[in-house]
Symmetry: C2
Subunit: 333 residues, 2 copies
DNA sequence: ACGAGGTTTTGAGACGTTTCATTACTGGCC
DNA sequence: GGCCAGTAATGAAACGTCTCAAAACCTCGT
């Protein structure tokens, strides 16, 4: 059905080895035969059989991308970066959603091992990377995504969440706010903890009254409810930092319902700068993470490790977030 | 490095063929040897070499998913559905963003052909499916995603956009609205055209004044600008249907800026029911598409074609959208 | 004890590449 | 004309799996 190198060789009256050379080492075949072979390839519409190649090579130009949930806008953007870098280098991306479940993650790692993928990019569901050690030992290039490297056996790429928290708080302090509420999410999420640390760092040098509110989930309705409750018990900050944009949206709803104007009465800073932040009723000031770049860089890292394992040194790349100021924040009244 | 069937065979003192049978036809191996082999497998941590399998089989349990942009929430959800169905059947998904560019699409199709993937799910960048014919002829199971089948050579899975438009308009008509604005997007987008057709269908049986506004893009700011302009030239509908939720969000902003209340002065219906619709300043009534189900069904279709090509009959599956009523629509004053 | 008939197991070949040691050419030089 | 040193092209082996015809092993019944 599909043409193979054998067919090409026959048509060009040449040996299979020569066809292989035309494909992989063109410079070592004479221009005359090269032409002949290339013509045969075109005529037959020959396309190399990747699995055969992979079998021979022992591993493939495939990147396994394991994320908690591609539907999370953060990872969606990361995936785009990964894919673009991969395509550039002739790699292909296998998408794996772990749903934060160790079982699913394990299952996927098994599949990826079976596929003998050349590289894996993963945001691990659990702390350690034990299940990865075996892959690494077998020569798979691995990098940790949005996760600080707890190991010296792999690269890691992350965003400085503490800095992000600091930026958010400093922005408000610079505007004169001295009574700030921190709308946190579940404290067992490392990103939330880091952002909080950054906020503390920024506030400790100024006499700021910092109040902490905890939402049960990172959703708009959880934010709405948490702020509602806080208002009911008399909280009256002049500004608020939220652990992510969805919480911020919920917070805005609750505040507006209570008759407060944004930013005149309360300033709000979100986190993530999701697409929607700019389109909200009051465009949201937010901390943006270089998501695409994160994915792109991570992919480049594992690709370079794949290309030349000996010349590769594992590294920890840490990106810097950036605050995007919009209309939801203003000077204190 | 990695154990192969040969190693397993040696350890279990059995032939390679027997190991293969334990893996693929366990029932034709005596329990005793089967045990022995399984133990050897466990002991060596043997994981089958997928590329070798694929080489032998001629094609692989891989689904190539080609979409315009995974960052588009619609396709993100579709992808989740595809992935879940794939995983269930032991398939793996290769992610390909075409960016609506024919060149990128072609390139990916070439790569997928090279990988000898067993199935392809695609939202084609251009009208025809010429570049796919070759794949289909070679026995790849192909299905068109969110695209009506213009061919009898492949399955297709889509959502009835005309029905969606009709649902939106009927909802408003049912609330008593007789002066409705249709905020369209670029008319060369088929989905926009279909939704419009549905709106026309719904309105023609009632004496409704339908005004059409065209936004240059499907974004919040384009919607804001278009509605701004329409208001300036004196448009005063009591309700509005928008080609998607982002346009609706933009429209709401423009209307509120002009001092109108939603839904008291103007009712708004969006389309897509993106996550954010429920969290907007005024929660948005919107038309929801079964995105996850779309992807899941499409994947199942190609998987079944892969499993048994002869028993497979190509089909066109068409899903029905659903209107989700929230606070942005109300009875006419 | 033998053979028929059934159940297990074996072994070789093929899938499409790449690699690498050989062999076959080429032109230049004495 | 014969030889040398390159340069080009060849052919066989190997990667890990599956398949299928053939061989080996049982279990009965006679």
């Amino acid at each position: 059905m599909t043409a193979s190198m054998k067919d090409v060789a026959a048509l060009a009256a040449v040996s299979i080895g020569t066809v292989s050379n035309v494909l992989n080492n063109p410079q070592m075949v004479s221009p005359k035969t090269r032409d002949r072979v290339e013509q045969a390839i075109a005529q037959l519409g020959f396309i190399p059989n990747a699995p055969a190649r992979q079998l021979r090579a022992g591993r493939s130009k495939v990147i396994g991308l394991v994320v908690p949930d591609i539907a999370n806008p953060f990872f969606t953007e990361v995936a785009r970066g990964v894919e673009d870098a991969a395509m550039e280098a002739g790699f292909v991306v296998i998408l794996c959603n772990s749903d934060e479940q160790a079982a699913r993650e394990d299952r996927y790692l098994r599949v990826l091992e079976s596929q003998r993928v050349g590289a894996i990019l993963i945001t691990p569901a659990r702390k350690g990377i034990k299940p990865l050690q075996r892959l690494i030992a077998n020569g798979t290039a691995v990098a940790l995504l949005d996760h600080e490297g707890g190991t010296r056996d792999a690269c890691s790429v992350s965003v400085d969440d503490a800095l992000g928290g600091q930026l958010a708080a400093s922005h408000l302090i610079g505007l004169g706010h001295r009574s700030i509420a921190w709308l946190a999410g579940p404290p067992d999420i490392p990103q939330v903890a880091d952002r909080q640390a950054g906020i503390l760092r920024a506030t400790e040098e100024h006499s700021v009254l910092l109040e902490r509110i905890v939402a049960g989930q990172m959703t708009a309705s959880a934010g709405d409810a948490a702020v509602d409750a806080a208002l009911a018990r008399g909280m009256t900050p002049s500004a608020m930092v939220c652990a992510n944009d969805l919480l911020a949206i919920g917070a805005m709803r609750a505040l507006m319902r209570a008759g407060m104007r944004i930013p005149q009465d309360v300033s709000i800073v979100g986190y993530d700068d999701i697409d929607f932040a700019a389109s909200a009723a009051v465009p949201l000031t937010s901390v943006r993470q270089p998501k695409y770049e994160l994915g792109f860089a991570a992919a480049q890292l594992v690709i370079s490790e794949f290309e030349d394992r000996r010349a590769h040194a594992h590294q920890r790349v840490r990106f810097q977030p950036q605050i995007v100021v919009r209309e939801s924040t203003g000077s204190v009244a």
